[in-house]
Symmetry: D2
């Protein structure tokens, strides 16, 4: 989403020393992981073997919620509070780790879990990269 | 987000006669508009002339919420209910119309409103296109 | 939630001729239905007969998203736009109708579906009451 | 919301040694704080002195997002992952602390900030109580 950078560039005040490239990449990763987790939860729900995928669906739902919230928090710069940013990223990173692990364990059977595991890994790493630069 | 199509392709059951190209485009437009509206609300909040932008901020927040919800609803296909899809799209379309109009009226002064107005127009149209094919 | 009325009373401007009692009741119903639908989706997911409940889970998730968004939209009064309010309420009403019907069909087997059906019916009615007074 | 306990009681499997009273209280506090923060952001936006309240609005929006997500995560028990629960609660606790501090600093001037500060303090404590018992 090139609009992420366009919006960061048009922010009227200083972004406060944040690494804009890492931030932009992380917002994009959160939106992609949000989308993938919502879709993976639903695809799992339509599998014949849904009984084997209930933990995966639950973790998808948690991860989707945390990615949405983290994408939102990272898109706000007014009255910046590094502490909220940090703990939100840590929560998102942990959810992406759990969801990535869970989806990976079904990746050979279900393409949607493979795609979702990749999105989770990328978002987990993108969160770690922003945390490292706070 | 090419993952939107990858996830639609990996859905294990039939998508139910939906126009996949229109659906995919609309989900992408919802995610982009969600992101832009969250960022535009915050950019408006940091403008010196925030007192002139309070209606814009409010409409941004409504539009962001509706785009998130619509992106989620459109990403679920299990137990498809055309009625929920239709009214959700209509609500999103109306919010994008209002937010696009509001942002457009500030587009010459604020780049973030110009970018956001474009995202709203695209999402409004994408919703209309899916509705036309339901 | 008595804080809903406290917050409406402390709003610094005029609420714009809205029926405050109907509004307050509808916000409370949206929050209760949001909570119940999130919990019912998860309870269904843990039932041994989850394969019979996949449509119920999906409808729960849609209804939860729409109740969250509607509770948010109804809690904003700045730059009031009756059109967004109306279509959002109509979408919420439709989701509550679908989810109430679906949960009711499982109410004799699952207490969580019975409780959730009641919350959906109350929210559906509360949305209709606000719409009637717009 | 007495439905929170009704839904916890109707969950078909074991809740996994969680302290149900603390959990129920925390979910209720999250929903109340979510509602109060959404409403406080909008009330601040309608104040004549909105320019003094932009940090408050931003913190309200972050806190609302985190309370919604935390209320959702705490309402899911399928495939329970204590690690996600813990970091989500820590993020919510931090957002409630920041938002409570910010709102408290405006509590003498604005009733909505006073009510919201109270809701944030209660939610911060409720999160701490669940964390202490994990």
């Amino acid at each position: 989403m090139h609009v992420i950078d366009q919006m960061l560039d048009s922010y009227p005040k200083d972004l406060g020393g944040v690494d804009q490239a890492a931030l932009s990449k992380c917002i994009a990763a959160c939106r992609e992981c949000e989308q993938t987790c919502v879709a993976c939860a639903d695809a799992c729900l339509s599998e014949d073997g849904v009984t084997e995928l209930t933990k995966c669906i639950r973790t998808n739902l948690d991860c989707a919620d945390l990615c949405t919230t983290t994408g939102n928090v990272l898109s706000r710069h007014t009255g910046y509070d590094a502490n909220i940013t940090r703990v939100t990223l840590e929560a998102c990173q942990a959810a992406c780790k759990s969801c990535g692990d869970e989806c990976e364990s079904h990746a050979q059977m279900h393409d949607h879990c493979k795609i979702c595991a990749d999105a989770c890994r990328q978002c987990e790493q993108a969160c770690a990269d922003v945390i490292a630069k706070l």
